[in-house]
């Protein structure tokens, strides 16, 4: 599995939940130690939206977008609309529309693993 590509599929989320359950068991044994520290807030991940568009897997969580498991560089305009590393000169109302536009522009090409960085 790629170290950089982190496709947040449902399977991966389930795996995370399973790991958390196992850790919870371990935590029971360590409870006296942990109780001495400040309580850790449990935050649920934002809901994940997935779809297949023109044969490509799109995943959106909050403002983050993955295409076939690779992160799309997402940026915002002052009016709240979205731009990406693939679409710098046109903005879109939602991350999902942004992801579809990137797929349209990519054709059959995959995203780069590491995009160049901005200022």
């Amino acid at each position: 599995m790629d170290a950089v590509a982190v496709p947040p599929t449902r399977r991966a989320l389930l795996r995370t939940a399973f790991t958390a359950a196992v850790l919870a068991g371990t935590a029971a044994a360590l409870a006296p130690v942990l109780r001495a520290r400040r309580p850790r807030p449990v935050t649920a991940p934002a809901p994940l939206a997935e779809e297949t568009y023109r044969g490509r897997h799109i995943a959106v969580r909050s403002h983050q977008v993955w295409i076939d498991g690779r992160p799309l560089h997402v940026m915002r305009r002052a009016d709240g609309s979205y731009l990406s590393g693939i679409n710098h000169f046109e903005s879109f109302a939602t991350p999902l529309e942004l992801a579809r536009a990137a797929v349209d522009e990519l054709g059959t090409e995959r995203l780069a693993l590491a995009a160049p960085h901005h200022g």
Binding site: H73, R77, A78, G80, I86, N87, S91, E109, P116
Partner: protein, 287 residues
């Protein structure tokens, strides 16, 4: 002083020399440095950082200086060269001579959008894409976006931008409600076709031209030479108007420190918009 010609008037020999110089800049690494500079200074306007190249008043002076730097490198190789300009309101077809085998090459093939004709085709071995947003090591294009057709800006849409009496307006970003800069740069403030001039040309070419590493496509330079010429035309049409903002924004203005006023230095060169207002003595445009 040299002359930037309309690309449609270049002779075969001039095209050959221009292409040869581009290939040499690519070979020695200079070209990719320029691609990185463009990408690095693209800052969208939701961020609170300084914006110099896009979504800001310094769109014109920043790109003027950027093109001058590039042109200097071309002319260091061949003093007879200059950046040609592409008037996309007239040469507005994917079969224009601009996209012929002897100049920029044509559109990308179906599927992976790979350019397969002309000197910048990957198989020729001289044009590998190193600053990548996609995995492609080859140049990509999608002229006219046939899957979802798009037209280049019309003469009327361009004229509407040139007619703007003000250079730019508060809040000096992609939502600026009026002004030549945003009308020409092309952020649809109210969403409509005429608000998309410069941006739409990037979209029409497609492939690398739609992304942050747009200068990977040599068409970038010809597009922006025309944008630079349009700044001249606006100045001639509105002799009493000038670059705005003409002084640093006051304390409390949300755009303070995020946009460049007339006498503030633009990175990465530390030149001011005032120094870029005219290119007299440096180059001229063929009528």
């Amino acid at each position: 002083m040299h002359t930037r010609q309309n690309q449609k008037n270049l002779t075969g020999a001039q095209k050959k020399r221009f292409v040869a110089a581009l290939l040499e800049l690519k070979r020695n690494g200079t070209y990719d440095e320029f691609v990185r500079v463009h990408d690095r200074w693209f800052v969208p306007d939701r961020e609170t950082k300084l914006r110099v190249g896009h979504m800001s008043p310094s769109f014109f002076p920043w790109h003027r200086r950027y093109l001058l730097e590039f042109e200097n490198r071309l002319r260091a190789l061949d003093p007879g060269l200059s950046i040609p300009y592409w008037d996309w309101t007239t040469d507005n077809s994917p079969v224009s001579s601009l996209w012929a085998d002897d100049f920029l090459g044509g559109t990308g093939r179906e599927g992976d959008r790979r350019v397969t004709t002309g000197a910048f085709a990957y198989d020729r071995g001289n044009w590998t894409i190193n600053v990548r947003t996609s995995e492609a090591g080859y140049l990509t294009r999608n002229l006219g976006r046939p899957q979802n057709p798009i037209k280049l800006p019309t003469a009327a849409e361009l004229q509407w931008a040139l007619d703007a009496p003000l250079y730019d307006s508060d809040p000096w970003d992609s939502t600026a409600p009026d002004g030549f800069r945003n009308r020409l740069e092309g952020w649809a403030a109210p969403r409509s076709e005429k608000w998309r001039n410069h941006n739409k040309v990037h979209q029409w070419i497609g492939g690398h031209m739609t992304g942050g590493a747009a200068p990977n496509d040599p068409a970038f330079w010809l597009h922006h030479a025309f944008v630079d010429l349009l700044w001249d035309r606006w100045q001639q049409r509105h002799p009493g108007a000038g670059y705005l903002p003409d002084r640093p924004l006051p304390l409390g203005d949300l755009q303070r420190g995020r946009v460049i006023s007339l006498d503030e230095p633009m990175p990465p060169w530390d030149v001011t918009p005032r120094e870029m207002l005219s290119h007299q003595g440096l180059y001229r445009y063929e009528a």
